[in-house]
Symmetry: C2
Subunit: 208 residues, 2 copies
């Protein structure tokens, strides 16, 4: 059964347990999904409202983007568990002979690269959600402005959570060129985002 088909309480139980997955990587994806869903909520509370007639096209375009991102986050949440399982499998490969050691090292790097890709994609998508939050807060139904604020908080927490999961994989990867590339990519995704979050948060508080 897919993790996201389970009840919220079961998800929390499995998260809290000593099973290594789901873990922080899944939470990063879920946090992004919650942010995207809240942008969609603000849009859905604005669509078709006379008071917001001027912004209907903008809001519909926002909604299309937030819903696509939400869907992708749910897939990434499942992917995170899958790639983590592959790393665990590689880790358990035998290492008695030099040949086995080399095969294991190669399998580990391959699995770790895949395991880096998922939180990196989560991070990229969290940045995209953050970019939807400002227009949602500025143009969306003012009665739901706090929801746009919660959306940016969840998207930024998802971004930084994903970053930790990229970094923990990179720490184990032997291909140092790949690791340096990924770290640079991550840094550029993170740059300025705490400040952007605070800016949108302050904008929301002003409109409350």
């Amino acid at each position: 059964m897919a993790l996201t088909d389970k009840p919220v309480t079961t998800f929390l139980d499995e998260l809290a347990s000593d099973a290594p997955a789901p873990g922080g990587g899944s939470v990063a994806a879920l946090s992004g999904a919650l942010g995207a869903a809240l942008v969609s909520m603000v849009c859905n509370l604005t669509v078709g409202k006379k008071k917001y007639a001027d912004v209907q096209d903008d809001i519909k375009a926002l909604l299309e983007q937030s819903e696509a991102l939400r869907k992708e986050f749910v897939e990434l949440l499942e992917d995170d568990v899958r790639v983590f399982t592959e790393v665990s499998k590689a880790m358990k490969m035998p290492r008695d002979t030099e040949e086995q050691k080399a095969a294991r090292a190669e399998a580990m790097d391959k699995a770790l690269k895949a395991a880096t890709g998922v939180p990196m994609r989560v991070a990229e998508n969290c940045v995209k959600v953050m970019d939807l939050c400002r227009p949602a807060a500025e143009k969306g139904n003012v009665n739901a402005v706090s929801d746009a604020g919660v959306a940016v908080l969840m998207a930024e927490a998802g971004l930084r959570s994903a970053a930790l999961n990229v970094l923990i994989n990179l720490a184990w990867i032997k291909d140092k060129e790949f690791a340096a590339e990924q770290r640079a990519k991550l840094d550029s995704l993170l740059e300025g985002k705490p400040a952007l979050k605070d800016e949108i948060y302050d904008l929301v508080v002003e409109k409350l």
Copy 2:
């Protein structure tokens, strides 16, 4: 059916919809629950491990607290929907006569005060989770240190999300003395927390 008994995807669908609840208030509680569950995960991956023999009592004490908080967050998530419904009911009361207007105003303030109490409690509990994250990161299984980092990110995002939900209720409350009191309480909960989060995040990154 309780909201938290529904599948994660259904929760997200209902969040994204134009139904006013669940909304940002429920997400604040869920974010706290995710943080608490991740502290529990770190503890559960540390309990009974020889390498961590020296800290077993501390970790068990942490786990007891994180599990109690997780349980309370799930209740608060359900409470948030309930108190929101009461505000909506009061809002729909008739206001044709002076008597009706007075009755409605009184019912509104009562419902809004209850609706303030839930996110305030979420905020208080998120601060408690944040306080568990540092010992979890310092003493817990180092292989799960990124999960302690995600925990503090979710707890702080939960705190600030709860704050927005307190503020949106206070903006509508006529009892200005109550509003001022609550705002002061909230300010003291928020004080220094972004910095505390960054401190714990940096500690985690160092240990990766």
